[in-house]
Amino acid sequence: MDLNATELDVLKELASIGANAAGTALSNLTNQTVSNISPKVELCEVENVKNEIKNPEEKVAAICVGVFEKNSSVLITFKKKYALLLVDMLMDKKLGTTEEFDDMSKSAFNEMGNIVVCAYVSAVANFLNTKIGVDMPLSTIDMVGSVVDAAIVQIAVESNKVLITDANFSINNEIIGAKIYFLFEPSTVRGLLDKASKL
């Protein structure tokens, strides 16, 4: 699908609103002040998303959730070291305590990811004064290339674009980097833009 400059700006704004809400959710969860350092949003061709990842073998912890009757999805990836820091913050442990994921920390990460993704989606829905259905979240810890390719093939049948937000959350003197991929179908994004144009 082709988007004009205004439509692209609207989408970028929606992604920023979502990313800021995700930061607020992290703040509530960790009981820390969280600032989102100027999130960078870009629209990327489906085929290039994975090719632009510098080290596809780097380990990440990821949460993927289907939205809009499963037509689209939101994927958030944290580098593994950041995900472990978040788990420590969430479980009120000294930073650096959790060195590897076990059942408990995986579950904590899954829960946190779920809340953060839902905060992203509901902020977009609230802004547009609409409702967006969210599916059960799925998490995994694996190579970033594999995680991203599995998420993008879900929409690659019908869509050719992915909206990527590069977010850096500053929490307790740590900068936690996250990438938020909004993977949408053309009809979904058209619906969002229609709603935005009526605001």
Binding site: K50, K59, G145, D149, A150, A151, A156
Partner: protein
């Protein structure tokens, strides 16, 4: 010897002693074809099972990508297609748990697609490491036709 990264939705054909590599593969299907006599090999990094009528990039799809891989190998000098050794890897289900939606089972559909294609063209599989729930990095050594798969877990 050169290590060549084979990007998503693309095909690379080369000869010994090069190494063709697909890093961080999830539900994508990696198809490797090797001419042992001439030490020529090619790797397809396909995303989806079948090409639709309006799609243009053949390397994005398993079925059309395989045909393109074979024709690229012929251009490189492979004469007897029937002697090609075919190996496949990848096609994992990275987010297990949801089985209702066929879209998230692209990995399984990619496996079905390559098997159907190989039956159609009458080529046997020489080796495979497909499915499961973990990502893979796949290296294809063109000096001997060997394939090495590493997983993160």
């Amino acid at each position: 010897m050169t290590e060549i990264d084979v990007k998503m939705a693309s095909i690379t054909v080369s000869n010994a002693p090069d190494i063709l590599i697909a890093r961080g593969v999830g539900s994508c299907m990696i198809v490797m074809a090797y001419d042992k006599g001439q030490k020529i090999g090619g790797m397809l990094h396909a995303m989806l099972p079948t090409k639709g009528p309006t799609d243009n990039n053949s390397a994005k799809y398993v079925d059309s990508g395989f045909d393109l891989l074979v024709s690229e190998l012929k251009k490189k000098g492979v004469t007897n297609v029937k002697k090609l050794e075919i190996r496949i890897a990848g096609a994992a289900n990275m987010f297990p748990g949801v089985t209702l939606n066929e879209r998230v089972q692209i990995g399984a559909r990619n496996i079905d697609s390559i098997r159907a294609k190989l039956t159609e063209v009458g080529l046997p599989l020489s080796g495979e490491d497909v499915g499961g729930t973990t990502g893979r990095s796949i290296s294809f050594f063109l000096n001997e036709g060997r394939v090495s798969v590493t997983k993160s877990i």
